[in-house]
Every structure is written in structure tokens, then in C-alpha cells.
Amino acid sequence: MDVVTSPPAAVSPPRVRRQWVDLLGAVIRTRRGALGLALAGSVVLVAAIGPFVAPYSPDQSVTFPFAGPSSQYLLGSDMLGRDVLSRVLAGGWELLLMALAATVFGVFIGAAAGISAAYLRGRVDGFIMRTVDVFLAFPQLVFALLLVSIVGPKIWLIVVAVGFTHAPAVARVLRSSALEISERDYVKSIELQGVRPAKIMRSEILPNLVSPLMVESGLRFTYSIVMMAGLAFLGFGLPPPAPSWGYMIQENRIGLSLNVWAVAVPVILIAVLTIGVNPFTDAIARVAIGLDSRPDEALIDDTVVEA
């Protein structure tokens, strides 16, 4: 077993890349994964190409407020008489980008903390995990609001705040996955060669955590979307004239009975997006633990050798 896995530097990087590609490939082949990808993917498509195909400027009043749908304005107009379709098409990408950035930030910090705690043990472990306990005592949204209240609703701050609120939970999950791996013989043997702890964590332990990392990323991405859209809905997002799905729901609420589409369409898009990401993440988790069909190559080093 050790013989096969011991030449690390040459083997690890390509294997890591293949591993997550294989995992995603297997996920897409499951029914759940394909359905999730189709749902979420269609919303991502709307958000990505929307700004280029919007028929009107999203910030310009074109008709009277809360006009119903017509052949000219397919989804009617909003509280200021702006074209709802154009605002919907233009207002999705910032939500997706911010959610993505927050997820990457949160999973990175959480993974770094969790792996360090698991590998370094002792006082570092104690300190990191007690810190995690303290931050888990705040509801996520409340903690994000606390951070926003300090500096004000700046975009970078909202990304950092949402990402930061993910870190404690990610750290907990990755610590428990990394604990067992840091005990493996090949890690011990590399330790004896005098390799630095930082390098061991990065190139020996991290490659074995691809599946929990991907599951966590999917989960945190869903939460990021929910929190970003929620913060935008509460008015802590891009400042008002800019179109954003979350804030569109807030500002057009008063006109619900006049033009329901100004609210319903962003609601549907956010709903389809989160509903889609969820089964996709679920499929990753199921493939990773072997509930659904795995990729041909096994995911864990040891099983490659045994098989």
C-alpha cells in the first residue's frame, strides 16, 4: 500500500485534477445530478447572457409604474416604470459572482483552519476549534449583519462577511475528515523525511479531501445564494438603482396586485437556482460515499491498490 502511494510530488497533482473531474462526471450521470445541473444551469445562463440581450436599459423608466405585461414590455414594468424583463436579465450575475466569491473565500478559510487543526493537533487544534465554537454561536445572517453594521454595506464586505460565516462549519467538517488521513502511514513516513508541515498539509492531506471539499462547496454555495439574496432583499446589497433579484422583490412588493411579475420572476429565478444546486450537491455527496455509482477509478488511494 505504502509503496504505491509514496512517490508523492510526481503523482498527486494530476490525480487531484482527475479526481474532481471524475467525480463531477459521475455526478452528472446520476439522475439527481443531471436534474440539478439542468435547473441551476438554466438560471446561470439567464444571468450570464442576460445583460447582453436585455431589450431596454435596466435603469431607465420606459412606461408608467407597475404596468402589466404587454407585447412591448413582456413582463410589465416596476415601481419606477422600468422594464422588468431587462432588470431581471441584468440583475443576476452580481448575485452569482458574489455568492461564488463568498463560497471560495469561506471554504478556503474553513478548510485551512480545519486541516491545520486536524494535522497540528494540540494547542493549535484547541484554539481553532474553540474559536469555531464561539463563531457558531451566532446565527449566520445575524453575524453577517453585525459585520455590515460596522463598515456599512460595501460589496467586498458583504462577500467577506458571508464567506466568513461559512468558515466555522466548513472547518468542523474538514477537521473530522482530515483527522483520519493525518494518521495514515504514508503521511507519517513523509513526516520522517523532514517535510514541512505546511507542505504535508497541502500536498499530502488536501488531495485526499476532494470529496468533502466538493460537498461543502456545493452546500456553502447554496447558503451563499440564500444569504446574498436575503441581504440584498433587506437592502444591504448593491445600492438601489442597480438591478438585483433580491432587491427587486423588496422594492416591487407594494405593487404586487398591479404587476405580480416584477416580484414573481426574481422569486422564481432564485427558487429554481437554489432548488437546482441542492440536488446537485446531494448527488456529489451520494457519489462520494458510494451510494450512487462511482467513477470507474476509485476515489480513495487505498482502494485503488486493493482493487
Binding site: V134, V142, A229, R253, T274, I275
Partner: protein, 335 residues
């Protein structure tokens, strides 16, 4: 289980005699410690980080005189420890100072909001728990039947929906566009409490109930299936115990135990979920109070609400652990 037991086999005899009392004591002490650290973080974050809270409140309208006055009001002219001590003793005794946005006493503003939010959280938590447990049990009993499939698809979809999406859909369906059965907003008049106008409570509570049911349902279903396939249920069946008695006396109690953890988590979730739901329905609870305070940079209110929510979090965590221990006979004996 075995590991749990081994950890507690320490020499002290009183530990073995009152394991649950010891556990509660240790968890409570850790909880108080956590809250202390939380209070320090909240205090430092809001009062020290932005440089000067007085300036951030007054903003561009600040004059040297008004800054000076506000600094004295917020005790910013004292040392850091003195500031923290004044604030903490204020929080513990209910003397929270005055709101920065309207000058009224914070406690007088927040107390009725606390009651309203508590009504919302307890109402949604209890209703959601009952519905979730019942639906989960039925889904398990009719495993792979149509009811099981329908509930599992719906719960998978609803699990990830943001609260405001559920709330807006309910408003569109029942309050504005489709039917006009219920009020779309719940502005409880100041001085009256939430339960005096139950009609206003229906949609906010329904939103929170819908959001927490999937978690409880899925956990209950999984636990119930496990219980129904267990040896003791098999044994009871072989003995000829009637099926309803097996379900009520054996399967149900044993599947509630693991579900309680999830119910506890749902209550935790509600503490955060009320923030957006209260804002949607214009419901005067602490969640709405927090959102308003963040918009106005009303620091005393932010500090207090965040600490209260964190305290609720820590408290619910302890309660969940202890109840899960008490209702699960196997774990109790293992200790």
C-alpha cells in the same frame, strides 16, 4: 456509545452517580464562557473597530460639540475595560442606555419585540415539529409509497429555498394576487402583543413552519425506518403485538430521540430565520429591530439584539443535548 462510556469512566464516584447533572453543569459552564467571549467580540467589533462609534453615527453632520456629547453618552472617553464593564453590567441589568436613532431607552423598545419574536419562534417551532414528526412517521410507514415520494421531492425542493421566497409565494397566493384571505403584513400595534391578533400571525408562522418541516421530516423518516427494521420491532411482531402498539410504543419513541437534535437545530435556525421573515411581514420583532438598527447604525440596539440571539443559540444547544440524552435510554445507560 462505547466511546462515550469510556470517556466518563473516571474515578470520581459522584460523576458516575449523577452523569447527567455533571453533563449539564459542564455544558452550562462552557456556554457561559462562550457567551462571555461572544460579548467581548460584539463589543469590540461595534465600539472599537470603526475607530469611533460616535463619528460613524453622526456621520457628516458631526460637529465637535455633538461628537463630544455623544462620546460621553457612549462612555467613549473612558478606557476600554471600563467601557466594556459599563456595557456588560448594563446588558445584565437591563440598563441598556438610549437608542442612538430616536433617543428612547433601548430596553423599552426591545422588550416588546422580544416577546413578539418569542411568540413567532415558539409557535413556528412547535407547529413545525408536530407536522414534521407526523409526516415523517407516515412517510416511513408507507416507505416508497406515493406519499413518501411526494413528501421527499417537496422537502428536497423546499429545503434550500430562502425564507423570503417562501414568504412572498404565500403572500401572492393568500394575501394579494390569487386569494385575499389574510393580511400581507403583520404590523402589530405598539403596546399590544402578537397573540392578540392571530390572523396577522398566520402567514409569518406558516413561512417559518414550511421552512423547518423538511429537516424534521427527513430525519424522522430515516429514524423511523431504522426503528421499524430493528430487532426489537421484529421481536414484538413475532410476539404478536398489534401493529399500532408497535408503532406508538416502540418505533415512535425510539425515532424521536435522534430527531430531537434536528428539532433543536430547527429552533436555532428560527433564531436567524426570523430576521428576514419579520422584515417581509413588517412584524415588530427583534429581527426587524436588528435590520432597522443596522440601517441606522444604532449600536446599542445592535449589540443587545446580537447578544440575545447568541444567548438563545447557546442555550438551545445545551437544551437539545440534554433532552436528546434524557429521551434516549441507550445513551443514558451507557454513561
Amino acid at each position: 456509545m462505547a466511546v462515550d462510556g469510556a470517556a466518563v469512566t473516571v474515578q470520581l464516584p459522584w460523576r458516575d452517580e449523577h452523569p447527567i447533572a455533571v453533563l449539564i453543569g459542564v455544558r452550562a459552564a462552557l456556554g457561559v464562557l462562550t457567551l462571555f467571549v461572544v460579548s467581548v467580540i460584539v463589543f469590540l467589533a461595534t465600539e472599537v473597530l470603526p475607530g469611533n462609534a460616535a463619528y460613524s453615527v453622526l456621520g457628516h453632520s458631526a460637529t465637535p460639540q455633538s461628537l463630544k456629547a455623544l462620546e460621553i453618552q457612549l462612555h467613549l472617553n473612558r478606557g476600554l475595560f471600563a467601557q466594556y464593564w459599563l456595557w456588560l453590567s448594563g446588558v445584565l441589568t437591563g440598563r441598556l442606555g438610549n437608542s442612538l436613532s430616536n433617543g428612547q431607552a433601548v430596553w423599552g423598545q426591545v422588550a416588546p419585540r422580544l416577546v413578539n419574536s418569542a411568540v413567532l419562534v415558539v409557535g413556528a417551532g412547535v407547529i413545525g415539529t408536530v407536522i414534521g414528526v407526523v409526516l415523517g412517521a407516515i412517510a416511513a410507514l408507507r416507505k416508497d409509497g406515493w406519499f413518501d415520494h411526494v413528501t421527499s421531492v417537496i422537502s428536497l425542493a423546499v429545503t434550500s429555498l430562502p425564507e423570503f421566497v417562501v414568504a412572498i409565494v404565500l403572500i401572492i397566493l393568500f394575501a394579494t394576487v390569487v386569494f385575499h384571505l389574510l393580511p400581507a403584513v403583520a404590523p402589530i400595534a405598539p403596546g399590544t402583543y402578537a397573540w392578540s391578533q392571530p390572523r396577522l400571525l398566520v402567514l409569518p408562522v406558516a413561512t417559518l413552519v414550511i421552512v423547518i418541516i423538511p429537516y424534521i421530516l427527513r430525519m424522522m423518516r430515516a429514524a423511523m425506518i431504522e426503528a421499524l427494521e430493528s430487532d426489537y420491532v421484529e421481536m414484538a411482531r413475532l410476539k404478536g403485538v398489534p401493529e399500532w402498539q408497535i408503532i406508538l410504543a416502540h418505533a415512535l419513541p425510539n425515532s424521536i430521540a435522534p430527531t430531537i437534535q434536528v428539532i433543536g437545530l430547527s429552533f436555532l435556525y428560527l433564531a436567524g430565520g426570523i430576521v428576514i421573515v419579520e422584515d417581509v411581514f413588517n412584524f415588530p420583532g427583534i429581527g426587524q429591530g436588528l435590520v432597522n438598527a443596522v440601517s441606522d447604525r444604532d449600536i446599542p440596539v445592535i449589540q443587545f439584539v446580537v447578544v440575545v440571539l447568541a444567548a438563545f443559540y447557546v442555550f438551545m444547544n445545551i437544551v437539545t443535548d440534554v433532552i436528546a440524552l434524557l429521551v434516549s435510554p441507550r445513551r443514558r445507560i451507557a454513561r
